[in-house]
């Protein structure tokens, strides 16, 4: 009938033995849950052992990634057309002119904001090492009226940013398909995780990724019209100074976040 011979009674565990095993199993599970699983999955470390074992950091990274992923998804949904953008059925001329005025003011504010972000390539004053170049950014003249986009001449930019442990930054170049920019970045003696990628017109691409890299240089050729550049994150336990230099045929140099 079966591929086995029936066991003798002596080969089976006794009732007392089974009870003991169950209690041991339940207690072990509780210890594993508190010391290992909760730190590794949620960064919840009641005993402090998780930190010692390096598991709490895993939980913290997972939580952070989950939050970023959720924010990413939310941003994708938010950019979808909503009812707000639908034309209003009964529009009075007065209303239209007021809306126009608001939109004009908004455009001005946004341009100023972009300009400010571009000029201050640092979130806070950097206590930069003497070797680090000062952040200087060439800003394009602001054109409020729509004008034909000038053909991109060769531009060059540089930025220096201090990243705290766990902090990330994204710098992108606005590029046309097929245009090339040379770049060089360094973590000034430390290491960074990076992802060289691009997005635009609903497309996204990852050119190259790296972990624990001290520096990188090369040429970036845009696969399509859009924003192409770098995402860096400091996964070390001390602050890292990032210096970036770019040169090439791009339209603008922007700090995304």
């Amino acid at each position: 009938m079966y591929n086995t011979t029936p066991p003798k009674r002596s080969e089976l565990p006794s009732s007392a033995q089974l009870k003991r095993s169950t209690i041991i199993a339940a207690l072990s599970a509780l210890v594993i849950l508190v010391v290992v699983i909760l730190p590794s999955e949620y960064g919840v470390d009641a005993t402090g052992m998780g930190r010692v074992l390096g598991l709490t950091k895993m939980g913290e990274i997972k939580t952070q990634l989950a939050e970023e992923s959720a924010a990413d998804a939310a941003a994708t949904t938010a950019s979808a057309p909503s009812a707000v953008n639908q034309p209003v059925a009964a529009t009075s001329p007065e209303l239209t002119s007021r809306v126009d005025e608001i939109e004009r003011k908004l455009a001005e504010v946004m341009l100023k904001q972009q300009l400010r972000e571009r000029v201050s390539s640092t979130r806070r004053p950097v206590e930069s090492a003497p070797t680090a170049p000062a952040p200087t950014v060439t800003a394009t003249p602001v054109i409020l009226a729509p004008a034909p986009a000038p053909a991109p001449a060769v531009k060059s930019d540089q930025a220096t940013v201090q990243l705290e442990p766990g902090q990330d930054i994204e710098i992108k170049l606005v590029m046309k398909a097929g245009k090339t920019a040379t770049y060089r970045w360094t973590a000034n003696g430390s290491v960074l995780n990076y992802d060289t990628h691009g997005d635009g017109g609903g497309r996204s691409i990852s050119y190259v990724k790296g972990r624990g890299v001290p520096q990188d240089e090369g040429e970036l050729t845009a696969a399509f019209d859009g924003n192409h550049g770098w995402f860096w994150r400091n996964r070390t336990n001390s602050p890292v100074t990032l210096s970036l230099q770019t040169r090439g045929e791009y339209e603008s140099f922007n700090r995304v976040k």
């Binding site: 086995t4 390096g54 990634l65 990852s206 624990g212």
Partner: protein, 241 residues
């Protein structure tokens, strides 16, 4: 084991099968979905770190085994009719030697096997072991394949399944070998934990008369689960083209 006992089991299996099938469906439905561009969970964590991380990789290995229902089902099939500690030790070691070998070789030499195909084979291993327990090969073919050898061979396939999943994690080359070994130790620890749980439940159950009444049905249920896994993976394979 006489005929009317068999039939009693046969009438009861439908409920158990439904229960198990719904569990599998739940697992399939709740497979993780990530937003574009950001890897999350274990994969995301692994892609953020570099260098030697022994304890975290041990944890990930153990987690992989304990939550890997295909490995657990096969393990259940192996120990289903083993009562002696010595026998359990021999078979589980054979399985461990099998999956450790191919897991380490597969990752080290970057042998990428289509995940759907390898997981379908693992599903088939569950079907095979259930049939083996039911004595089907002796009845059908008048031949009993060597159970130790088949455990080792299916262990090899399970190892390729593990290595295929690890390759998807894109582990940093920096500290790869120590991390892999740690992951492997974790896999064995996870296997021991899962085995302890299985053996405790089986221990209670084997002491009752119902064990012999339901043993057949449970193996049939296990076979159902195995077939479902094969179908699930092959469907994935077809849809991936």
């Amino acid at each position: 084991m006489n005929l009317h006992l068999q039939r009693a089991g046969a009438e009861r299996w439908t409920f158990t099968r439904l229960l198990l099938l719904s569990c599998i469906l739940l697992l399939v439905i709740t497979l993780p979905a990530a937003a574009h561009g950001i890897a999350t969970g274990d994969k995301g964590y692994i892609q953020e770190i570099s260098g030697i991380n022994i304890i975290p990789f041990m944890y990930l290995g153990a987690k992989h085994m304990v939550t890997g229902y295909d490995h657990i089902l096969f393990l259940l099939g192996i120990v289903f009719f083993l009562y002696k500690t010595k026998d359990i030790g021999v078979y589980v070691s054979l399985f461990a030697i099998g999956h450790s070998t191919t897991m380490l070789l597969g990752v080290y030499f970057n042998i990428g096997i289509n995940a759907y195909i390898i997981d379908a084979i693992i599903g088939f291993s569950v079907v095979y072991k259930a049939l083996d327990n039911m004595g089907a090969f002796r009845v059908w073919f008048k031949y009993q394949p060597n159970t130790r050898l088949t455990t080792l061979v299916f262990g090899f396939f399970h190892g390729f399944g593990l290595s295929t999943k690890i390759l998807e994690y894109e582990i940093s080359p920096d500290g790869l070998v120590p991390n892999l070994l740690a992951f492997n130790v974790g896999v064995e620890l996870g296997q021991l934990l899962a085995l302890s749980g299985i053996l405790i439940v089986m221990g209670y159950w084997r002491r009752t008369q119902t064990f012999w009444r339901y043993a057949y049905s449970l193996n049939t249920t296990m076979m159902t689960a195995g077939f479902a896994l094969v179908g699930y993976q092959l469907t994935g394979l077809i849809l991936s083209f």
